[in-house]
């Protein structure tokens, strides 16, 4: 009977999750007008600096092994914060792009499709990079490939700007602090 109780609890939790996602989906639909306020601009330069392998090599040469691990972990935590924001921005842009998909203008629909695909790629890459960051936090001497996130973010910004231009030429989307 213990097994049955475990399965019943799992089934109940699954049902709650599914219903919660269903409810949040309908709430998202009605709240799509506030999407842009959810975008947090990112200082891409600082982000790029944090994931620069040359910087890491320099720090490795200059610092003692224990001090390097400490500094590296701090840099990784900061990188993780940037990647999280990039991933969240990507999720917002997926939603934004999807809401622009069914507009009558084929140029806007095309731009929206590109934006959603780029945002999904970035969200996927951000997830993978976050996993690698957590592994690297355990082994700070291991390398970290965050390039897909930076490149993805660049492509995403271009797509978002294109969509912004097409939707409203006067006021495009701003994704980074420069």
């Amino acid at each position: 009977m213990t097994l049955a109780i475990v399965i019943v609890i799992a089934a109940f939790l699954s049902l709650v999750l599914i219903l919660r996602i269903a409810v949040s989906r309908s709430l998202q639909i009605s709240a799509s007008a506030n999407l842009l306020t959810q975008i947090q601009p990112i200082d891409v330069e600082a982000f790029r600096n944090l994931v620069n392998a040359t910087e890491d090599d320099y720090l490795r040469r200059r610092l003692s092994a224990s001090h390097f691990r400490e500094v590296r972990r701090a840099r990784l935590r900061a990188t993780s914060a940037y990647v999280r924001v990039a991933g969240r921005n990507a999720a917002v842009l997926v939603h934004l792009g999807e809401s622009a998909l069914s507009t009558g203008d084929p140029r806007i629909a095309d731009a929206a499709r590109i934006l959603v695909n780029d945002a999904l790629t970035l969200r996927r890459n951000a997830t993978f990079v976050l996993i690698r960051i957590h592994i690297a936090l355990a082994w700070p001497n291991a390398g970290l490939a965050a390039a897909p996130v930076i490149d993805g973010y660049g492509r995403l910004s271009s797509s978002a700007m294109l969509l912004g231009r097409l939707q409203n030429p006067a006021t495009p989307i701003r994704l980074a602090v420069l």
Binding site: I7, V8, L36, E98, A100, S157, P172
Partner: protein, 256 residues
Amino acid sequence: MLQAHSLLWHYLWLAPHVLQVALAILLWQRGLHKLFPVFVAYTIFEAIEEFTLYGMDVLPWVTVDTFWRTFWVGLIIEGLVRFVLIGELCLHLLRPWPAVANLGNRLISFTGSVLVLLATLAAAYAPIDNPQYSLISRAHILQQTLYIVQCGLVLFLFLFAAYFRLAWNNRTFGIALGLGIVSCEHLATWAVMANGGLIDKRYLLDFLNMATYHVCVLVWFYYLLVPQKTRTKSVVPLPEHNLEIWNRELERLLQQ
């Protein structure tokens, strides 16, 4: 009222499947069978299966053994059709987005494999509570096994879509929602039955199963046939303009 062969019992067994026949006809008339061929096939199969089982249950000359053997055959086919239906939902959800389609397909295959393993373990630990009618106990265990995998896969679809903020098409969402509710509730009840729980009050679990299925058929009706409100697509007021600098700077970053 809450007894086998009561009026409510007859209604709950038959009504959802009568509605399913009507749903299948309406979907066919509206050409939606081309969009959701597996769902339409599932709807028709489910109705035929349940009408057959209902007939066998009320006809006095049908033996218990024959009923459960038919139940077994129906269960296996229904299980297969439902997995293909989940595949259809997955296709509808991921096909428009190549950026995550490959990842989604790999993850759902992996999740399916893990769930099959877990379901097999759960089946191995489930007791055969009535050796004289092991066919019934084994049918309950098979139900539990199928629903562990099915419920897990549907939950995976919901979580994957929520994580990537993938927009469900309303109809696909409705099918998935109904299937999700049925899967979770049926998993719980069949797990209780498979593990020997509530032996004297199993008719209550049957009522719960039938009532939930009825609700889910209504969910499918609503999402598939009731015209959905079109979302108003107002141009989002965008923040201040800094496109030129943005573009120049990003291109510089990308070329580094």
